[in-house]
Amino acid sequence: MKKASLLMIIGPLFLLGLYVFPLWNIMLGAPQYPDPLGLNIHINGLKGVNEFDIQNIDGLNHYIGMHTLPKPEDMWEFGTFPMIIGFMVALGVLIGLLGYLNKISYKWFLGWFVLMSVLGILGMYDFNEWLVDYGTNLDPNAIMKLTNPDGTPMTYKPPLLGHVKMLNFDVTSMPSTGGWLMFIGMMLTLTAGFMGWQKTKKQ
């Protein structure tokens, strides 16, 4: 149980990476952008991969009537997510410590993992909702109003995960360093739960 508890203490600490590294990344490449434009999604706001990428993405998107990318104050998520992550890290470490002192069972480890997974899925759902709004809520006076072959207006929702060809742009959306660190951290807590379960079974 000691080893499992140590893992349970370390795992949540990986989430601290989210305060430094982006959770997600969307890259936009096109023939005239051999160095692609890039958007890093941090838990507290959006940042360009290169300094002026946000300005340049907004500049291009105004042709098709997309709204400018939100600033931190434009979305409640950028204020709330850092608090939720902070709370989950503290909670996870506390659970690990109590496990180390044999005050609680491994089930708490799994409980933290499940809670974090639920929050993660909710976060993804929320993120996708924003992507839908960003890609479909277009200015009716857009300079270019494009339609699909079936006559419906063309929309520009970036993919949640993976690659999509959008007009002249190749758009690729992938978890970034912070996201991967979170994934590793969560896997460590899952392992901690598993190890705790094994140990309990032997006893």
Binding site: D35, F52, Q55, N56, G59
Partner: protein
């Protein structure tokens, strides 16, 4: 039957190829396909070297790639350039100020890249204006001319602009000797009255700013070309001279009488010490110093009123003359600094002086008379060797860093490769036609990159499709990586390239600037956000603070301008994206367009003469809606009282 015919034709062609190869006697067979492979830079690939070719009478500097011979850019230096508005915009007009007023043109000759410890460092490139003596400094991260200093007491600024091993100085020598100071006197009293000035312009190691530190006033010869000592000869500078006859007319004949002219060896370290200790004479002068500030995007002119002159006789041991046959032209120093090569342009041979022997002769005081008090060393005492080339009209020499030298021969139209030390000729290849300078990247530094040599020719004739009486000059690229030179490419050049300077792309490309930062723009008329755009009247001057971004001007409707006004369009490009300039042109404007780079502010003046509603537009195809990037200015009669009004999207 048909197949047989094909076979015969194919075999015939193969035979012809074989016999051609034999005729050429080329060491590696020199099939044209291998030359093509050597110069072929596939689409999307980049060149190995930058080559900066002077534009000669274009007044500018052109940038090419090696080995492809593709032209990348023309950098405006001494000439107005309507393409970008250089010399037309209010910000850049001061760059072309001189003591003679605004001079919109010059004859640009010899570019030289800055060095540290004798190796190319790629910070700046310098070039001389030959006609109205000036030296320019170009920043090699923006590829823009940043500074031009006029050289007083000079005329025909030809033995310029060559830099010392640590870019301590950029040196400018006069080709014409003139009365110093200038005065009204009979031309035929030239002899012993005219003087030749050699100017040492210090370069600030931090920001590159130039300052005319001292001028050496030499006898009235013609100082033709020069190069710095390097390595062991660092601290010396060598100048070829002709017209030691001091002829003032029909120089073609009268300046070609002496069997030997001189290479002047100048110990500038010694003179620098003399000057630093308070030596030299301050002389009244009047010369322009034009400096472009990247922060304000604006150039300013300062007129300097004084120059420090040095009489060479007052600094013992500072100047010696090395006799050199036949009106030497090129003056080149090998990478070790040991050999000083004087190319006697009216002879068949090259004269190579030895630095060590020169020092020994000076220490042994083996003089062969003097000229105006300057000791002449004995020819035999300083001679290292002579290259008996069999060519005619040697002009310039470059080095490959492997102990070989390459000399151009104007009259016999060829490049000759020879070995330093043994003086034997290794190879010779024709040029097309009448070659002047040649260039090996770093070929005049301690560390040449001896892979290609570019020969720059004066005569083109039949090399390309004919374009009437006037044609661009031609250049040839030779692969010099083997024992024998191999002609691999031939390309036309812009203007008349005299000298050139090359540098590996890996030194320059990574630091090439992509944009100017808008948040660092300190132009007094810049607008940082479109909401700051405005129109301000000050008497009959109207200042329009305008911003641009794809794809509109802010403002794009302006009213209240009157006939007789002087309208200043101050345009700030708000793009912060690589390669998105916006242009600006106003109908009927008596000036050029502007090309405004991202983050930059430029100003164009318009003096409307007719009532009406006049359009302006973006001249650079900036986006899919470039055609819509346009606007109107309403011009009312001079006596009307229409209020100033400006808007966008109303």
């Amino acid at each position: 039957m048909k197949i047989n015919n094909h076979l015969i034709v194919t075999m015939g062609a193969a035979l012809m190829l074989v016999s051609c190869g034999q005729q050429n006697q080329s060491s590696n067979g020199a099939l044209s396909s291998s030359a093509a492979e050597k110069v072929y830079v596939a689409p999307g690939e980049q060149d190995e070297f930058y080559a900066f070719l002077s534009g000669g009478y274009s007044g500018n500097l052109t940038v090419y790639g090696l080995p492809s011979g593709r032209m990348f850019k023309e950098i405006p230096v001494f000439s107005q350039f309507p393409t970008s508005g250089y010399g037309y915009s209010e910000e850049t007009k001061p760059m072309l100020n001189t003591s003679h007023g605004f001079v919109p043109w010059d004859d640009a000759h010899h570019p030289d890249i800055s060095q540290t410890n004798g190796e190319l460092d790629g910070r700046w490139i310098f070039i001389n204006g030959n006609n109205t003596p000036r030296i320019a400094r170009i920043n090699l991260s923006t590829f823009e001319t940043e500074e031009i200093i006029e050289v007083p007491n000079s005329a025909g600024n030809h033995s310029s602009s060559f830099i010392t091993e640590n870019t301590e100085y950029v040196v400018a020598g006069t080709r014409f000797s003139v009365p110093i100071p200038q005065r009204d006197m009979p031309i035929n009293e030239y002899k012993s009255n005219f003087k030749g000035s050699l100017s040492f312009i210090s370069v600030d190691p931090e920001h590159g700013h130039m300052d005319l530190k001292f001028q050496l006033l030499m006898p009235g010869f013609n100082y033709d070309l020069s190069h710095p000592g390097r390595g062991k000869s660092h601290g010396w500078f060598f100048f070829t001279t002709y017209n030691t006859e001091e002829a003032h007319t029909l120089q073609e004949v009268n300046a070609s009488q002496n069997d030997k002219d001189f290479i002047a060896a100048v110990n500038w370290k010694k003179i620098e010490e003399y000057v630093n200790n308070g030596g030299g004479t301050k002389m009244p002068a009047n010369y322009a110093h034009n400096l472009y500030d990247e922060g304000t995007h604006t150039a300013t002119t300062t007129m300097n009123k004084e120059v420090l002159t040095v009489d060479p006789l007052k600094v013992p041991g500072a100047v010696y003359f090395l006799p050199t046959p036949k009106s030497p032209h090129g003056c080149d120093v090998d990478p070790t600094g040991q050999y000083i090569i004087g190319n006697g342009k009216l002879s068949a041979d090259l004269t190579v002086h030895s630095f060590d022997k020169m020092i020994a002769a000076i220490e042994g005081e083996k003089f062969d008379g003097e000229a105006y008090g300057i000791p002449i060393l004995k020819f035999e005492d300083v001679l290292a060797g002579q290259v008996k080339s069999g060519g005619l009209g040697p002009l310039h020499t470059e080095f490959d860093g492997n102990g070989n030298a390459y000399t151009t021969f104007f009259i016999s139209s060829e490049v000759v490769k020879w070995k330093l030390g043994t003086w034997e000729v290794i190879d010779r290849k024709p040029t097309y036609y009448s070659v002047g300078h040649l260039m090996i990247p770093g070929g005049n530094s301690r560390k040449p990159f001896g892979k290609y040599v570019v020969a720059m020719n004066k005569i083109t004739k039949d090399r390309y499709l004919p374009t009437g009486p006037e044609m661009e000059h031609s250049a040839q690229i030779y692969d010099i990586s083997g024992d024998k030179m191999e002609l691999i490419y031939d390309f036309p050049t812009h203007g008349e390239p005299h000298y050139a300077a090359g540098i590996p792309a890996e030194i320059l490309a990574p630091k090439s600037q992509k944009i100017y930062r808008l948040d660092e723009n300190k132009h007094p008329y810049a607008v940082k956000t479109p909401t700051d755009a405005k129109v301000v009247r000050d008497g009959n001057e109207v200042h329009i603070y305008m911003s641009t971004i794809r794809s509109h001007f802010t403002p794009d409707n302006i009213e209240g301008v009157k006939v007789g006004d002087k309208v200043y369009f101050h345009i700030t490009n708000h793009e912060q994206d690589f390669d998105v300039p916006h242009g600006f042109a106003m109908i009927g404007q008596n000036t050029s367009e502007l090309l405004v780079m991202p983050g930059q502010t430029k100003t164009s003046v318009w003096e409307p003469k007719q009532v009406g509603v006049w359009p302006f537009y973006c001249t650079d195809f900036c986006s899919a809606l470039h055609q819509e990037m346009q606007g109107y200015v309403r011009v009312s009669p001079a006596n009307s009282n229409i209020a100033l009004k400006w808007s966008l999207g109303e």
